[in-house]
Symmetry: C2
Subunit: 241 residues, 2 copies
DNA sequence: ATATTAAACTGGTAAGACCAGATAACCACG
DNA sequence: CGTGGTTATCTGGTCTTACCAGTTTAATAT
């Protein structure tokens, strides 16, 4: 006889599948396997009822799950959900909540951002195309005529993304995007305390730093690009301490 | 007058809020702000009906979204969903689908994995504790008596995670986890073609490589740890080409 | 006390209904 | 000949009611 509080490591809890879960997986796998491509339309909820032999609430629960995974987008009245390819946002959001709840320290954050950006800068110096250079320079020029901090931060993000993009490694691009967002969130608190003059000086400093970075990448000087990026990241880190 | 096909960049599509979405955000924010902590129970669906003045299907849609975000876990009959802190899985799954759909190339994958692991090895050499060393050595020893490939891959993953953990950077740990999984997926295809003898030789090679890595970390030789990791990763990369 | 049973939950699902937008076909009007 | 408006009919969003199958809890009998 078994006591009720005895644990049996050999026996795993049997996973009871929800119908909505099964539908979710089925449609997700069709998208992942390429059977359903971006832009395709799912049948209407009512016709899925008859196809899947399930009630509408059940099907709608599955659709909500697909929606949160950014695999579909539903527009009321327009007939059928539309298949999407998930953007990097589908990983940004959970990563942000994860980093927020895990209370990831500034040291970890900057350490990793430094790693990622320095590598991206090096790869960019190796592989940048003419278009990459044009894009980067465009963001630098634009940031010279900026009026508020949030606009400046956005251009800073675009500039860094352009570098990551020039490095031709999409994983680095993704990491760049997510970490930049979180870094800005933490920097923003500090910059609110500064006055207009200090902020203006800071912006000029950053633009100068970006320009040096650009020049190193332009002349394909891998080592210098990495070095300039290291200094650039460090500059921000000092600002938050 | 406006032509129907004219685009108005100034006017953004008005976002129509679904009730289930509002409920989702409300509960998510309560978890993120710490108002609801891990282990807490949400009210039952029926009591939420009266609290939120919404029907059960609506509330259930919100619960399915929270579930996908790994913020809650629902067990039938047990009364109320249980608040969870999202694990790294909540990021792994979307990241995997993203990398799968983006068709991320092997070059990008190995390049970034190399970056991450080399950095982790360096940090581990600096910061490893005695417990970290014990854990790493344990995985090496265990992998000497392994019988099948999947078990070996699991121990390889644990060993690498132990290094990342010893490096005391949770972002690197997360990246390690995700990339390892994807790398194994791609390696596995290749190893199926090899015969038992080749596989055995390969396993011995990896264990030897792990041992050297361990020794470098043990004696806190940052440079050598990085170098050994570089060679280790490269070894696998050659195997897939 | 302990074992058994019954009542009162809970989540999972179904069916039917209504509304507000969107769509498309049609029709009258200039 | 459009052009604009009307209408029937789609769609998704939501509510209500209802039933089932497990789990928990409390009352019960041993």
């Amino acid at each position: 006889m078994l006591k009720s509080d005895e644990k049996l490591p050999l026996l795993k809890p049997v996973p009871t599948q929800r119908a909505s879960e099964v539908i979710f997986e089925q449609i997700r796998d069709m998208i992942l396997s390429g059977e359903l491509k971006k832009g395709d339309r799912l049948p209407s909820e009512r016709s899925m009822m008859t196809m899947l032999q399930r009630s509408r609430p059940t099907i709608r629960e599955a659709l909500r799950m697909l929606e949160r995974a950014e695999l579909i987008k539903t527009i009321p009245g327009s007939g059928g959900a539309i298949v999407q390819e998930p953007s990097s946002q589908s990983v940004e959001v959970p990563l942000e909540t994860l980093l927020a709840l895990n209370n990831t320290g500034n040291r970890e954050l900057w350490e990793y951002r430094n790693l990622n950006e320095v590598a991206a800068a090096g790869w960019a110096a190796e592989r940048r195309s003419e278009e990459d250079l044009v894009a980067m320079l465009g963001y630098i020029e634009a940031s010279k005529h900026v009026n508020n901090m949030s606009e400046f931060f956005r251009l800073d993000r675009d500039f860094h993304e352009a570098i990551a993009s020039a490095g031709k490694n999409r994983i680095a691009q993704l990491v760049d995007k997510v970490l930049h967002k979180i870094v800005i969130l933490r920097l923003d608190e500090g910059y609110r305390k500064k006055n207009a003059k200090e902020r203006k000086r800071m912006i000029e400093q950053v633009i100068e730093s970006h320009m040096q970075l650009y020049e190193a990448i332009e002349r394909q000087d891998v080592f210098d690009a990495q070095q300039k990026m290291r200094e650039h990241i460090e500059m921000f880190f000092n600002d938050i301490e």
